[in-house]
């Protein structure tokens, strides 16, 4: 059941075909699996191993290195509060404290209704807008305690459903390479010639 579904297998094959070696597609495919199920299941890892031609242990080995992959269910909304220097200087510690009280869980915990997982995050590359947080990787800048309460209430009431998808979905737009436009990936041992435009003459 939690192997990739038909539509996702199609997407997966499309992604794999873009790389000279199939294993390169592993991280994008793990995201696809997490998108489908909300977290990366064992069955999905076995399936991905079959798709890219490596063992499920290798898939697990890669997956466990990266923080975004979860191996058990998390809340529908993953709230990552940045605590690195710029945000800490601008009051991220107080924000986290407030968030823990508002949600009634410590950082790392999930609320009883399964709606929210609260987590401490490292630098999110929005340092001038500190303190920042991400809900399912959507930014909120210069967050006050009041902003946080409003955000949680809006998420609960479904007001932000259009902007913020459930946990697992990161980018909602996928790259699509049209068959007639793509050059296509070739295994490196099969592409041993100097590219056509490297002949010392202008290409146009």
């Amino acid at each position: 059941m939690s192997r990739l579904n038909e539509a996702n297998i199609k997407t997966a094959l499309e992604i794999i075909a873009r790389y000279p070696r199939p294993k390169s597609a592993l991280i994008p495919l793990l995201h696809l699996a997490q998108e489908q199920n909300g977290y990366v299941t064992r069955e999905a890892m076995v399936h991905l191993g079959e798709l890219v031609g490596v063992t499920s242990a290798e898939v697990y080995g890669t997956a466990t290195f990266y923080e975004m992959f979860r191996f058990e269910p998390v809340g529908k909304y993953l709230v990552n509060i940045c605590g690195t220097m710029s945000c800490a200087l601008m009051g991220a510690g107080d924000l986290m404290h407030h968030a823990e009280h508002k949600l009634g869980v410590k950082a790392g915990g999930t609320t009883a209704d399964g709606m929210f997982t609260l987590a401490h995050a490292e630098c999110q590359a929005a340092c001038t807008e500190a303190p920042t947080l991400q809900v399912n990787y959507r930014f909120r800048y210069k967050v006050t305690n009041g902003d946080f309460d409003t955000l949680i209430d809006d998420l609960k009431s479904g007001k932000l459903a259009d902007e913020i998808p459930a946990h697992g979905v990161v980018a909602r737009i996928r790259q699509r390479i049209p068959a007639d436009r793509g050059v296509g990936a070739v295994a490196p041992e099969l592409a041993t010639e100097n590219p056509a435009w490297m002949d010392g003459k202008a290409a146009l």
């Binding site: 000279p20 070696r21 294993k23 390169s24 597609a25 592993l26 991280i27 994008p28 890219v52 490596v54 080995g61 890669t62 290195f65 990266y66 923080e67 975004m68 605590g83 690195t84 220097m85 710029s86 800490a88 200087l89 601008m90 490292e122 630098c123 590359a125 929005a126 340092c127 001038t128 807008e129 500190a130 991400q134 399912n136 990787y137 959507r138 210069k142 990161v170 980018a171 737009i173 790259q175 699509r176 390479i177 049209p178 007639d180 436009r181 793509g182 050059v183 070739v186 490196p188 592409a191 010639e193 100097n194 590219p195 056509a196 435009w197 490297m198 010392g200 202008a202 290409a203 146009l204």
Partner: protein, 472 residues
């Protein structure tokens, strides 16, 4: 002409008539669309490049000395020239895994002007004869991934990417790839490992650098997003116009993010080499001074990994050859400002925690040492550290970076500057980065750390006067 443009979220706040090379389209709300891009000179640089021989374009980039903007500052044109001539295929890997503490520029370039980046990638592939391009975006940047994906879809459909670009013999695919949360993947060999579908751990080098032995063992160029974003402008305006901006050793502009305790934190495109930290922190067109007009206590000049500076170094310009001997680095253009209210040990702890958390675990000094540093510093900040702890931190640090450690030069303390970089016992810079900021914090503000230590009253031990006797 003076135009002060206030962007949403105060980003890219620009005033004055400074040249804009990479942020010129940021003022448009639809800057990320192909339509706006084409209306503002988009893909003109590519057309110009394709009208010249590839080697010619390479020479142009070389003579412009476009310095790498990822942290190391290595000139892009020279890097491209390091690939072996007769080995094919060669690859381009774009490093969009921006996650150095304080750094906020590549995400903006990807979100606000993805086509400019795509054009830069194409010019690089053309000039250096690279057969395929992989654009690696940090996993947590959902919007950047969406914008670049949409831009690539538009560009493919319009014939700017893929087979026979603009009807020429130049064909290259740009593949969007995205990570899943790991700071160390910003290191180029770890990036390649991650792109091969493995755990993102750096490879041991030298002798094999990516330029000779990178992705799938093939010659690979790894360039930062901002570096590539400079190329379209360079192709349109030529290397002479490029080197006319800034200084001879640091030409052009660069993006810097100033965050922390300043009045107007923001991302600015500044002139390389001549702009000083004082201009940036106090200039009305930039940050406008320290918040509440407080005193400046310290600042991080180039990302979380860089040793700290104080007001003594404010007049240094954005020039690697001056910042290096002063004991720090320009790194990724991230400045974090601390005013007089800052609790220095607690501020240092946020960075120490970061590096302990982000160690990939491959090298023991970083994996164990980073964690030790965090634990010792945590107990100092919590008020339960002992006097031996400070020395312990320095000793653990010396196991990650043996020898003289660089620190911000501070004549008041009688400290001489040691050039960057330093010796290290780890493969990559994550290890030394865990210690560099902490070391400079302790050097500059030792009394603040000592004030936190538990003072214990020492009880003199005297010889026992009556020896214990057994039996008679």
């Amino acid at each position: 002409m003076t135009t002060a443009i206030k962007y949403p979220h105060a980003v890219g706040f620009v005033a004055g008539d400074r040249p804009k090379i990479v942020t010129s389209r940021f003022e448009h709300a639809d800057s990320f669309t192909l339509e706006r891009f084409l209306a503002t000179g988009g893909y003109v640089g590519l057309r110009k490049a394709l009208g010249r021989a590839a080697t010619d374009v390479h020479e142009e980039v070389k003579s412009a000395t476009v310095l790498g903007r990822g942290g190391a500052g290595f000139p892009a044109g020279t890097k491209w020239g390091l690939t072996p001539q007769q080995v094919f295929p060669k690859y381009l890997v774009v490093n969009g895994d921006e996650s150095e503490p304080g750094t906020y520029k590549d995400r903006l370039l990807m979100e606000r002007d993805p086509h400019q980046l795509i054009e830069g990638c194409l010019i690089a592939c053309y000039a250096a004869g690279l057969s395929q391009c992989f654009l690696y975006i940090r996993g947590e940047m959902a919007l950047a991934q969406e914008r670049v994906a949409a831009a690539l879809n538009e560009a493919y459909a319009a014939g700017y990417v893929g087979k026979n670009i603009l009807g020429s013999k130049f064909s290259v695919d740009i593949v969007l790839h995205w990570g899943a949360g790991a700071y160390v993947v910003g290191e180029e060999t770890a990036l390649i490992e991650s792109l091969e579908g493995n755990r993102g751990m750096p490879r041991l080098k030298p002798p094999f650098f990516p330029a000779a032995n990178g992705l799938y063992g093939q010659p690979t160029i790894v360039n930062n997003v901002e570096t590539l974003a400079n190329l379209p402008w360079l192709m349109v305006n030529g290397s002479e116009a490029y080197t006319a901006i800034g200084t001879k050793t640091s030409p052009g502009t660069r993006m810097v993010a100033v965050s922390g305790h300043v009045k107007n934190p923001g991302v600015f495109e500044i002139i390389n080499g001549t702009t000083t930290f004082r201009d940036l922190l106090y200039g009305a067109e930039f940050c406008g001074g320290i918040r509440n007009d407080n005193e400046l206590k310290a600042f991080v000049p180039g990302g979380g990994s860089a040793p700290w500076f104080t007001a003594d170094q404010l007049d240094l310009p954005f020039e690697a050859s001056q910042v290096g001997p002063a004991g720090s680095m320009l790194g990724s253009g991230a400045i974090m400002v601390m005013d007089s209210t800052t609790d220095i040990p607690a501020a240092a702890l946020t960075l120490t925690h970061f590096y302990a958390h982000e160690s990939c675990g491959k090298c023991t000094p970083c994996r164990e040492g980073g964690t030790w540093l965090e634990r010792i510093l945590t107990r100092i900040v919590d008020g339960t550290g002992t006097e031996a702890d400070l020395q312990q931190i320095l000793e653990v640090g010396a196991m990650i970076c043996p020898g003289d450690f660089p620190h911000a030069s501070n004549e008041k303390l009688g400290l001489a500057a040691v050039p960057f970089p330093y010796k290290m016992t780890t493969i990559c810079f994550v290890g030394p980065s865990a210690f560099a900021p902490l070391h400079s914090a302790i050097t500059l503000f030792r009394s603040e750390f000592e004030a936190r230590l538990v003072k214990r009253i020492s009880i003199p031990v005297t010889a026992v006067s009556t020896p214990l006797t057994v039996g008679a």
